[in-house]
């Protein structure tokens, strides 16, 4: 039931690590593109617009900040579709920040020296050394800016990860072995409690995703907490008609057995540790 | 203020007391020297010293515990820690427990006099600061 979330630096070998783990532990590799595909398939037109819109967002903060919440909910929901089954290695830039600090997930960052990254960029993108260096620097800056905009944190902060590896002298197989060893420990095994927490998080996120995907409730900023099938919604005071729409949409989400609305509480978002 | 500044010096090395007594008497302090924590703490029960200068690494009891006991008994006393084995953890622990200052050995007596002058100032003994300036030939 291993879940590994890899945050990779530009051209740092993260894909290779994901491939190695996938092979050694029979983990399903998942990338950001897979999450976007899930959103497209499940979320409808509005959801697709949110995800596409935010891709162009980082330089126009005011225009796109209202999309940020919806984006995070939809992508979190997509990631949880994979993670709740276990046996997944996700590799991306900062996707691990979509989830709260779950005990059964190992959050890993992998980087290497600039010289090596430039070399990788030259090989992969068929660039000259100067072009590759420029490309790596720009990509680094873009990723840092993206994470700061979307998640409100600095992806270079080691406290956001459980383990940080440098490929300066460690090799991908060595790191892979270390991770495999760590995953065998009981801290990363699913327990009934961790499975229940995962199920509750998944249900709550599906409810939030349903609300942001529907044009009637997209703008309302209603959060959800779940325990078993019972869902508690937190959001602004609503008139009867919008409240009825919210309750109708939430009740239709598979797995929901009871719904309660607590007005006046701001919806909580736990996206970083 | 006519009262003299009373200073208790606690260090298990006799040479320290022998060197500090005249150095502090120079600035008008009444100095009592102790080489063991037990008798020093007993004396502190009898008299509320203005300033206690204590070593940290001693056999029977460490200076941090002496600090704790002094602070418990008389929080107004200014406690100055001295040690040859200072670490940042030790210095910050002493600070957290109410020590007035912390001096690493080896130090010049003038350094201690400067700290005592500051401590005296905080207690309302303003004259000690002026007396602490040494005579320059």
């Amino acid at each position: 039931m291993a879940v590994v979330l890899i945050s990779r630096g530009t051209m740092s070998g993260g894909r290779d690590l994901a491939a190695c783990l996938s092979e050694q532990l029979s983990l399903r590799p998942v990338s950001r593109e897979d999450l976007v595909a899930v959103v497209d398939a499940q979320g409808g037109e509005l959801a697709k617009k949110v995800v596409d819109g935010l891709n162009h967002a980082t330089r126009a903060y005011e225009q796109f900040s209202r999309l940020r919440r919806s984006y995070l909910i939809l992508m979190r929901s997509a990631l949880l579709e994979f993670v709740r089954e276990g046996n997944v290695v996700y590799h991306g830039h900062a996707g691990h920040l979509l989830l709260p600090n779950l005990s059964c997930c190992l959050r890993v960052r992998i980087t290497t020296t600039k010289a090596r990254r430039v070399e990788n960029a030259m090989k992969r993108l068929n660039l000259s050394k100067e072009e590759a260096s420029e490309a790596v620097l720009q990509e680094d800056e873009e990723r840092v800016r993206w994470a700061r905009f979307v998640y409100g944190c600095d992806i270079r902060d080691p406290h956001l990860y459980d383990a940080w590896f440098s490929l300066d002298r460690l090799t991908v197989p060595a790191i892979c072995n270390m991770i495999v060893g760590a995953l065998r420990e009981k801290e990363f095994q699913h327990t009934p409690q961790s499975m229940e927490a995962m199920a509750n998080l998944f249900l709550a996120t599906r409810v939030e995703a349903a609300l942001v995907s529907d044009p009637r409730t997209h703008e309302l900023e209603v959060g959800a907490r779940a325990r078993g099938g019972a869902v508690v919604l937190e959001g602004p005071y609503l008139e009867d008609a919008p409240l009825a729409e919210v309750m109708e949409i939430v009740s239709a989400v598979p797995g929901v057995t009871a719904v309660e609305y607590e007005p006046g509480c701001p919806s909580s978002m736990e996206f970083t540790t | 203020m006519d009262e003299r500044l009373s200073v208790l010096v606690l260090d298990d090395e006799p040479i320290v007391g022998r060197r500090l007594q005249p150095a502090l008497a120079k600035i008008g302090c009444d100095v009592e020297i102790f080489e063991a924590p037990g008798p020093a703490l007993e004396r502190l029960k009898e008299k509320a010293f203005h300033i206690v200068v204590t070593d940290i690494r001693m056999d029977d009891m460490d200076g941090i515990e002496v600090l704790e006991r002094v602070m418990e008994r008389n929080p107004e006393t200014r406690v100055i820690m001295i040690t040859g084995y200072a670490t940042v953890e030790m210095a910050r622990e002493a600070e957290a427990k109410g020590a007035f200052d912390f001096i690493a050995k080896p130090f010049k007596p003038q350094e201690l006099r400067d700290v005592i002058a500051k401590a005296a100032d905080s207690l309302g003994f303003h004259g000690v600061a002026h007396a602490a300036v040494p005579d320059v030939p």
Binding site: A163, N177 | L20, P22, A23, A96, K105, P106
Partner: protein
Amino acid sequence: MPIIFICSVPFSGGERVAKSLAQKLGYGYMSREDVVARANEAGIPVGKLEVAMVKRPSVQERMARLKDRYLAVATATICEKAQDGNLVYYGRAGHRLLPGVSHVLRLHVLPEHGQRVETVMTRLKLSREKAEKFLRDIDGDILAWVRFVHGIDMDDSRMYDFVANLENLNLENAATALCGVAELPDFRPTPASQRAMQDRFLQAQARIKLSLDDRTADVDLTVRANDGVLTITYVPLQARAASLISDAVGDLPGCREIRCTMASTNVLWIQEAFKPDSETFREVNELARRWGAAVELLQYKPGDAPSDAVAVAVGRSAAMEARTGGVEDDVPEARPSSEEKSFQETLEALVHEGRSGGGQRVSGSRDRLSAVISPSIPYSLVVLGDLFLDKPPATRTRLVRELSMFLGDHVKAPVLSTADLAAKLHLGGREVARGAVAGVLVVLIYCGVFLWQDKLIDLLGGPAHKAAPWFAAVLVALMAPVIAFLYGSVLASMMKWLKMD
């Protein structure tokens, strides 16, 4: 097998990870406490450095030499224990002591905050608020220590091969994960890395001997070891110590040869008052760094009553002596003036950078100044800083220029004022614009020459030249210097940009 350095802050669990790992691997274990104990035994008062991190005076008084001695003892202690590898060391960025040694694994352990606070509350009997403050304070002190002693940011993850965050990974987990890495062939000692470690050991031992010997303790020396050959470089101002070096070092195991050399690149900086936080210090230090030069300070008071040159040395902290119990002699000493203090601080800052060439003070006429500057010292540059401070600006500029010309005649080195230094070495907006304009003109001239080369050839040696031979001569006489000037401007800007002085 590797030497594993685990770096962490106190009460983090890092020490337990280190001990657990040592036990699992069957390696030797050593911590910073062992190194500090060894340094204290050698009479080095490490506690003074520690307390300096807490009090953080604006400049670490007499700390630079103390730091060097401590680093030498730390390096020697670790090298001695790790002769065959197979060592786990727990401390603060200890891996920085062995640059060039490849069989070193660098690990950083990040603590779990909640657990850390609880540990401090229990162990030190502090309230939660005081425990939180205590941890903030010691973390700041240790960051300051690592920055001062090793010149790096301890929290920079790029300094490590692996960073373990104990918020989620437990201690045993982290230790287990590390076992696998320690067995990797990448971290096995090679003959080259063993050699590098022996050189670090030799260098450290030489440094210890030189700093504990009264004859050489205050001398600014650079010690390097390479393949068993010790090279000890002294600054020209302290050339008298050269003869004592070999004797002070004596016989060291593994040392094939001792070479004493005088620093060949020296910058003499003459100024009336020095400040280590001044812009001039930054510029001179940057230049010295680029050139690998030592910087000698000469404090000059023009117009004051003449004085003989007084050499100023950075004193070292008194050693821990049993006979005094750590209380130094109660000798009255004059409090230095703020100017003397600043001079000392600047000297200290240069020692800290490893670029001190010593210092001296002189006052009087410029002939007296010139007499103090030793003709036998090969200065690469003489920098005139802030002088004639009591004069109005225009007079000051004139006097500095006159002094510059005077020294230029008497000293075998280029003499620059600090204003000229900035102009010559730094690439500002104006220089970029000038270089760009010159570059465009050079290109245009080259294009012109090659586009009209037939006409030019005719003018220089063809029928047109025969008709008016004087014209070609005039043209060459006018154009050659213009092209040379433009070309030189472009090259000068490029060299400044490339920091090639």
